[in-house]
Amino acid sequence: MRRWGYRHVITPLVESMDVLDLGLGVDQRRRLFKFTDLRGEVVALVGERTVPVARLVAGKLRAAALPLRLCYAGPVVSTDEGRFHHRRETYQVGAELIGASGPVADAEVIALAARCMEATGIRRYQIDVGHAEFFHGIMDAVRLPDDVKGAVRSALVARDFVGLESLLEGTPLKSAEHELLLRFPALRGGPEILEAAGALVRNRRSEAALTELSRVRELLVGHGIGDVVILDLGAIRDFDYYTGVIFEGYGPDFGQPVAQGGRYDGLLAKFGRAAPATGFVVQLDLVSEMLTRAPRPPALPRIDAAVAWTGSGLNTALRLGSTLRLFGMRAIVDTQSRGPAEAKAWWRALGATNLIHCRGEADVSWSSDGQRTRTLPPEQVAARLAGGLS
């Protein structure tokens, strides 16, 4: 994320409830671990870090010019064990682009999320991109009494399409919007889905959303991730919070999204610095669970060199260790003197690729998997290892 110019910020794990109250919905507040501090103030462990970042931007970073590009990493906690896949705590890495609106900003954050998923080691993934305004437009346009509208919304948020169907069946007025709501989970695909949906909607909000989505898709092709993007007009998320383009990242064979994000232009105003904003989180716990269950789970990185020493070889060993690290290799220098046989045993136990044994100022032997042990001058060690590794 540094390469994209996002500055790392650290927000506290414990936040005042007054701050969290401003930014969180009722359900989210209910799921917080709360307690009181010594002054009797109610504080809570954060359940997400977008609100703390928003407070930072409106508070400490008030003088900083917008747009701001910020990223963070840390644990978040929830009382609802089901929320984070039967754990109370999960580790999130996220980024927020604050003070920029429009498709170019939306696409930047989606592309960054994609690159973050790649950086975790996920080989195949897919990003579903939708738009909260598409849904809001339909709900505006659909001709229903207010109480039925509320029930329709609840059914949709609960993903209960059987309930939704019976609600809509009971109403006399049929419109294109009825049909769209019922087909919500199926409204996904390539750019063609935008045209299909465009032919059905008759309201400004939804039409504007479709135009914006089409632009975001073009931009994502420009970012080089067009082939992993799927347009999902039926994306169901927290519609009170999200105000624009929303997205979710899915890995292979895993039953839930590992990355989520979207535009939330309403949040910053609650902290007194109105600004458009968009961002995402990657759930690192879920990613690591997914990767370890894959057919070829990632191995821990191998140590490149085990540097052993005996007698006057310590100085040489320390110097060699520094040089190897300068070349980008992982090198461990032994903490105790060992003879040749013990050094070999230590090397095997470490599972390192190479063993460098320093027996004196200028007396160095090099052993490597499947090769005979050779003696060579210390100044050649780094070059030989680097050559062999590249």
């Binding site: 897919q126 579903d128 993903r159 399409f161 199926a186 979710e248 064979d253 039953g255």
Partner: protein, 216 residues
């Protein structure tokens, strides 16, 4: 993404199993006898993998992605809402979730309830929400079986339980005071399966929807 692999569907043991297998046969997806599935618990055939699990476990299998689809009673879904999509009312397995009280009890509608109602049920979440929505204080005792006994021995004022014909209730000297809701078998889907294996999963969903007599 797992496009080459079979679509998996979790079926419940118990009263819905027959209906679920019949539906699979009618849809032309797979013909399987209850005995065969009961013996093996996991059958893989013609691009469909069928898993047999306890009814209350179906949402867990689907929500965690161990099954792409599941067939489960609405009563179970009331009790364990999750991240799955509820897609089709399959139309079989009709039953009602009711408040039942002893024949001799004076309790009927909300006006007749005591200040604190004591209820035994296998559906604590649904029962609590239902009473709370009616402004009624309730003490819920969670039982795992033979719920009908609880009011007879004075443990509670009434029970909230599932009934198809009302016979078991009558046999135990209970009568229905209120109906909390009607339940049928539902088809549920994992959220990620719908999104990452859309074509394969949707084709099974359509077959089942058609076989269930849905018009969409």
């Amino acid at each position: 993404m797992k496009a080459n692999e079979a679509v998996s569907i979790a079926l419940p043991t118990g009263v819905l199993m027959e209906g679920a297998l019949e539906l699979l046969t009618r849809s032309g997806l797979l013909s399987l006898s209850a005995e065969e599935l009961g013996r093996q618990l996991l059958v893989e055939r013609s691009d469909l993998r069928v898993i047999l699990v306890r009814p209350a476990d179906v949402p867990a299998y689907v929500d965690h992605g161990a099954a792409d689809l599941g067939i489960v009673g609405k009563d179970i879904l009331w009790e364990s809402p999750g991240s799955h999509y509820e897609l089709v009312d399959l139309g079989f397995g009709d039953c009602r979730l009711v408040l039942a009280v002893p024949e001799s009890s004076s309790f009927d509608g909300p006006d007749t309830w005591p200040p604190l109602m004591r209820i035994a049920t296998k559906y604590p979440r649904t029962a609590t929400a239902w009473f709370e929505a009616r402004g009624q204080a309730v003490e819920v005792v969670r039982l795992h079986g033979s719920v009908e006994l609880a009011p007879l021995v004075g443990l509670v004022d009434g029970i909230v339980d599932l009934t198809a014909t009302g016979r078991t209730l009558r046999e135990n000297g209970l009568r229905i005071a209120s109906v909390l809701g009607s339940s049928t078998a539902r088809l549920i889907a994992n959220q990620a399966s719908l999104k990452t294996r859309t074509a394969a999963v949707q084709s099974v969903v359509s077959s089942l929807r058609e076989a269930a007599g849905g018009d969409r």
